[in-house]
Amino acid sequence: MRRSLSSVATVVAGLLILLDLLVVNSSLGAAAGALQELLILLAAAAAVGGSAALVTRHVRHLAGASPDRIGSIVLLAGMGVVLLAGLRPGSAGASDPVVLWLVASLLVPLATALFAMLFFFLLAAARHGMASQGREAVVMLAAAMVAVLLLLPIGGPPGDLLAAAADWVRSVPLAGVFRGLLIGVAILAAVTGTRILLGVERGSE
């Protein structure tokens, strides 16, 4: 079996974390803790790297003849404003009142407004799908209609009937399919994890 450096690192890290969960040992705990810290640093570095790549891409858009220059300007200005608010002298960083105001009063309402348009987009997309797709779109939208019908917020005996039917759909067929998917994904993840831990790579089979 030929093992690459990344496979060895994955195996060592995985076994260390597993052993830390199974065995109570302070040295093992410290080693696993150090590994977790390293992972957190790597995640932070990836986030910074991602942001830098985004800035580079949009600066290149501005320098070139991109059709969405306004979008790039808005994105870079937004990043600049938040960075300025968080990094200016005397700022409390991410918990600075200016940063919090930008997030709570600007970012969240804007995102909420964007998501509020989903209703219209979904209806338009449903019709679009019906016009351009095959029978699958009809089946999917018919199922969506049944779901909406069952969730109608009406009272009285018809409402009770609909609510009971909705509960049954959610807890029997839907839960069955969903859990089947989850179990399948979990088995696949376990198999993949085991293959990595054992060093069985695709090329070595």
Binding site: A104, V108, V148, G155
Partner: protein, 298 residues
């Protein structure tokens, strides 16, 4: 100035086309606005959004009622922007319920979206407290914790950053400084790191701290087994359960703040049903489909 060219059918057509395109969304917006603004006396009385089955509502209320006095509750706030409107009312009712039981709340987020929404929610709580410093002091903003699930594991032993100060932060540090310092963990789910991650990463390492969750409906099939296995002590995971819970909690603030009215929801759902029914009917009668003019345009 040259005389204006007379309007021909070719130039008039786009204008009417634009009007036809924008009229339905505007009419729908007006309909929803009327449904929202209609006084309660004029709304139909036989609408019901709340769940009839109160089992999960009672479970959640029992957990909150069983908290010790001056308890410290960690709010793991990681919903996503798309599904948060579904659980916003429930979350606010639950925060009110916890506050009315004297709980002190510490907010922490492991996702960027969750952090943004937590900042907005903390801002709302602090603004509502106004000059009442005592209420504001019961809320602690731990902030964003980086590292995703690795950050969650580290939070088991240390969750309050050194830069975070105040009486509540000191109280948490004096109890050990990790998630074990809390009497309850309330998980607001929806994003990548939800109740499942909490059960897997925190619950497996720290069995002593009870966990409850609020989640949008799509996560219910995933989280219901954790409720049955007692890894979650309570779960509110559908809109109906959330509304039922909010109805049970005494309203301390503005009722509009958290109530989800049934009438606009019914109006929107009926419009969606009608729209889909027309599309399905047109498709089955051959007026809409891949071979038609509209289909080719799509």
């Amino acid at each position: 100035m040259p005389p204006e060219a007379p309007e021909t059918p070719e130039t008039a057509q786009p204008r009417s086309f634009e009007w036809r395109r924008f009229a339905p969304p505007i009419a729908l917006l007006l309909l929803l606005a009327v449904a929202i603004l209609l006084p309660p006396g004029l709304q139909p009385g036989d609408l019901r959004l709340a769940s009839l089955d109160r089992t999960r509502v009672d479970q959640m209320r029992a957990v909150v009622a069983g908290l010790p006095s001056s308890s410290v509750v960690l709010v793991g706030f990681d919903p996503d922007l798309g599904t948060y409107p579904e659980i916003r009312g429930t979350v606010r009712a639950l925060l009110d319920d916890l506050a009315s039981h004297g709980a002190r709340l510490a907010f922490a987020s492991f996702t960027a979206e969750g952090r943004a929404l937590a900042a907005a929610e903390i801002d709302r709580l602090v603004r509502r407290a106004g000059t009442n410093g005592e209420t504001a002091a019961k809320v602690l903003d731990i902030g964003f914790i980086s590292g995703a699930e690795a950050g969650m594991v580290r939070a088991v032993t240390s969750i309050v950053p050194s830069a975070v100060t105040g009486p509540l932060a000191d109280a948490i540090r004096s109890r050990g400084g990790g998630i074990g310092a809390f009497d309850l963990v309330l998980i607001v789910s929806g994003g990548d790191l939800g109740a499942r991650s909490w059960v897997e990463q925190v619950g497996s390492r720290l069995r002593s701290v009870p966990m409850v969750a609020v989640a949008p409906t799509f996560l219910e099939p995933e989280l219901a087994p954790y409720l049955r296995s007692d890894q979650l002590k309570a779960l509110l995971a559908t809109l109906r359960e959330g509304v039922a819970y909010a109805e049970e909690v005494p309203v301390s603030g503005a009722p509009r703040d958290r109530a989800i009215p049934a009438l606009p929801m019914l109006a929107g759902m009926l419009v969606a049903l009608g729209w889909l029914a027309v599309a399905v009917m047109q498709r089955t009668t051959g007026r809409l489909g891949p071979g038609t003019r509209r289909g080719r345009a799509a």
